[in-house]
């Protein structure tokens, strides 16, 4: 079938844009590929490629410092996600629903952690913790992480609260549910997608955070990113590559599973 000039042009643009997108993805995925490749490097440090081995995957589990820091990071990420999402959800609803003095100020304040470089906030928190004599540790890291997670949670959830929410809450109270019942049975389920993406965002931000953790960690136990940063001077050992490779695998598997579940759910829904 002969193509018109216009169709030819569109096809050409299409091919060019696909090539462009592929190149951008390539640049983003090259580091990941290199990182994975070097987890199989047969060398004490990754000086250069020195042959294939899987020994690091075995040795990984005897590196207690590495494993401990991973757990520490996971626990901190989970806790700061929970705290941020709870405060963020309640706050987003409160800020959306109620009018009060100083609401504008609070709304603007929420943008500070988003727009001020993280190092500044970290430094500010460090100074104030020192001033009041709080010893650094999990508590201080949690506060730090929550301080930048909460605004993101509030903004994300606020975006998901539609105008309908007020009416739904009224309908619930009208049907005899008090405020708490209404919150649990109606408000929360309707904004749940927003809450989930806030949780997801908070977890990601917290789990990969270096700046805040590095500043506020008691040196007793460091998070994984801080450990990796401190290894940088002496050299990052291939077992860290092995660990991150496993993490990539877990993430990708989770994503694929999620995709499959969502699709089957959709199919099921379609059948009814």
């Amino acid at each position: 079938m002969a193509l018109t000039r216009r169709e030819k042009k569109e096809r050409r643009i299409n091919i060019l844009s696909n090539i462009y997108a592929f190149l951008v993805y390539a640049v983003l995925y090259i580091p990941v590929a290199v990182m994975i490749a070097f987890s199989f490097n047969n060398q004490r440090y990754n000086y250069y490629w020195n042959g294939f081995t899987t020994q690091w995957y075995g040795k990984l589990f005897s590196n207690s410092a590495l494993i401990n820091s991973l757990w520490y990071s996971i626990i901190i990420a989970i806790l700061s996600t929970i705290i941020s999402v709870i405060i963020g959800t309640i706050g987003a609803l409160g800020l959306k629903k109620y009018e009060f003095k100083g609401k504008k100020v609070i709304n603007n304040m929420l943008y500070i952690p988003i727009i001020v470089p993280e190092i500044v906030l970290a430094v500010a928190l460090l100074i104030i913790f020192m001033k009041v004599g709080l010893s650094l540790g999990m508590g201080s890291i949690l506060i730090g992480h929550c301080t930048f997670c909460i605004p993101y949670a509030v903004v994300t959830i606020k975006g998901r609260i539609s105008g309908d929410n007020d009416t739904l809450e009224e309908a619930s109270m009208d049907l005899g549910a008090n405020r708490i019942q209404t919150f649990l049975r109606v408000t929360l389920p309707t904004i749940f997608p927003g809450v989930m993406s806030a949780a997801f965002l908070s977890f990601t931000l917290s789990f990969d955070d270096v700046v805040m953790s590095n500043m506020l960690a008691g040196a007793r136990q460091s998070t994984l990113p801080v450990l990796i940063l401190s290894m940088n001077k002496s050299g990052i050992t291939p077992d860290v590559n092995a660990l991150t490779t496993i993490m990539v695998l877990v993430i990708v598997t989770a994503m694929i599973l999620n995709n499959i579940i969502q699709r089957s759910l959709k199919k099921k829904k379609g059948k009814i």
Partner: protein, 348 residues
């Protein structure tokens, strides 16, 4: 106002701290019975995992290792009541005097550390307050295959032929002594003019530096041809690449750093800390550790018990071993060091 602020913060703190459970506070009743937890603050990649695991198994305890990135970190911990968090902190000889004077470290009962007798007294400063662990020469090594010039002194490092060819250790108190020695001054000088000159020397040196840190990697993979580094790192690099040699210095003294453990004031698990110190002083244990971390060691019995590979390590075969200096406490002059160091790092 401050009190109110503290109160509010404390309130919020309890919230978040309560959420993370018992992870935060170590057992308070530690002194009554045998401790089951030991918290150590030290350099990274500096002790064998196996050694730690064996110690844990033998004493039925948990060892928590955390790492510093600068000598200053350890001093910060010690002066800020490190005993709250740690039972053993690694520091270096230079700071011992003022740490003891400031009452930041516990006296160690060496009767409980019988194996410490293996340590050569020549390397033991402030005996009774610390136990030496490893030591290291900070010297110059080069790749004979690629290095364009012969290096016999610090001043040779300023040769323009070495532009972008040097990987060096970092830190004010490691860099400045080099410059001071090169200029013929006291490596622990507190004289502002001398330090100013040393700064100028380092600015020139900086032009030849490719990277601060990562000496071992950079030397091995050919990024640089010269490195200022520790003997242990040199040992690893030499094992990878046999063209790496120690620079034959003629006159300039090199730094010998001593890393030692102290027990911070108010440490909670002193019993276990002493057991640990005794354990690492055991010749066989340390000998094994040296196999993994081939640094110089003040424990003569351990060196004796170490493998032939360790004993014949080319990284320690050089003839100016006696021409060394130690880092000393420079007191208030530290500010001058830091300011110049800062300027050095900022200036291009």
């Amino acid at each position: 106002m401050k009190k109110l602020l503290a109160l509010l913060l404390a309130g919020a703190m309890t919230l978040s701290v309560a959420a993370c459970g018992g992870n935060e506070a170590p057992a308070e009743d530690a002194n009554a019975e045998a401790s089951t937890e030991l918290n150590i603050y030290m350099w990274q990649q500096y002790i064998s995992d196996e050694l730690i695991a064996n110690f844990e198994a033998e004493n039925n305890c948990k060892v928590n290792l955390s790492y510093m990135s600068d000598n200053a970190d350890a001093i910060n911990k010690l002066t800020a009541g490190g005993g709250e968090e740690y039972d053993l902190i690694m520091t270096c000889d230079a700071y011992m005097e003022s740490l003891i004077a400031g009452g930041y470290v516990e006296e160690i009962n060496l009767d409980n550390v019988p194996n410490s007798a293996n340590i050569n007294d020549a390397y033991w400063v402030s005996k009774g307050y610390c136990v030496p662990y490893l030591m290291n020469y900070i010297y110059v090594v080069y790749d004979s295959a690629t290095c364009p010039i012969e290096i016999t002194s610090y001043n040779d490092l300023l040769d323009p032929a070495l532009k972008g060819q040097i990987s060096t250790i970092d830190g004010a108190r490691n860099l400045f002594p080099m410059a001071l020695v090169a200029l013929g001054y006291d490596p622990n000088s507190t004289n502002a003019d001398e330090l100013a000159e040393a700064y100028d020397w380092l600015v020139k040196f900086n032009e030849n530096v490719a990277a601060y840190g990562n000496a071992e990697q950079n030397l091995t993979n050919g990024t640089v041809s010269v490195a200022v580094t520790y003997d242990g790192n040199a040992s690893w690099a030499m094992a990878e690449k046999d063209t790496i040699k120690i620079a034959p210095f003629t006159d300039d003294a090199i730094q010998l750093g001593m890393d030692l453990y102290v027990i911070p004031k108010g440490a909670k698990h002193v019993d276990l800390a002493e057991k640990f110190l005794d354990y690492i002083c055991t010749p066989e244990v340390m000998a094994k550790n040296l196999g993994e971390f081939p640094y110089s060691c003040p424990n003569d019995a351990a060196v004796e018990a170490a493998s032939e590979t360790y004993k014949n390590d080319p990284a320690r075969q050089f003839d100016y071993k006696e021409n060394v200096f130690f880092q000393e406490d420079v007191g208030e002059a530290l500010t001058i060091y830091n300011d110049y160091y800062q300027k050095l790092k900022v200036g291009e």
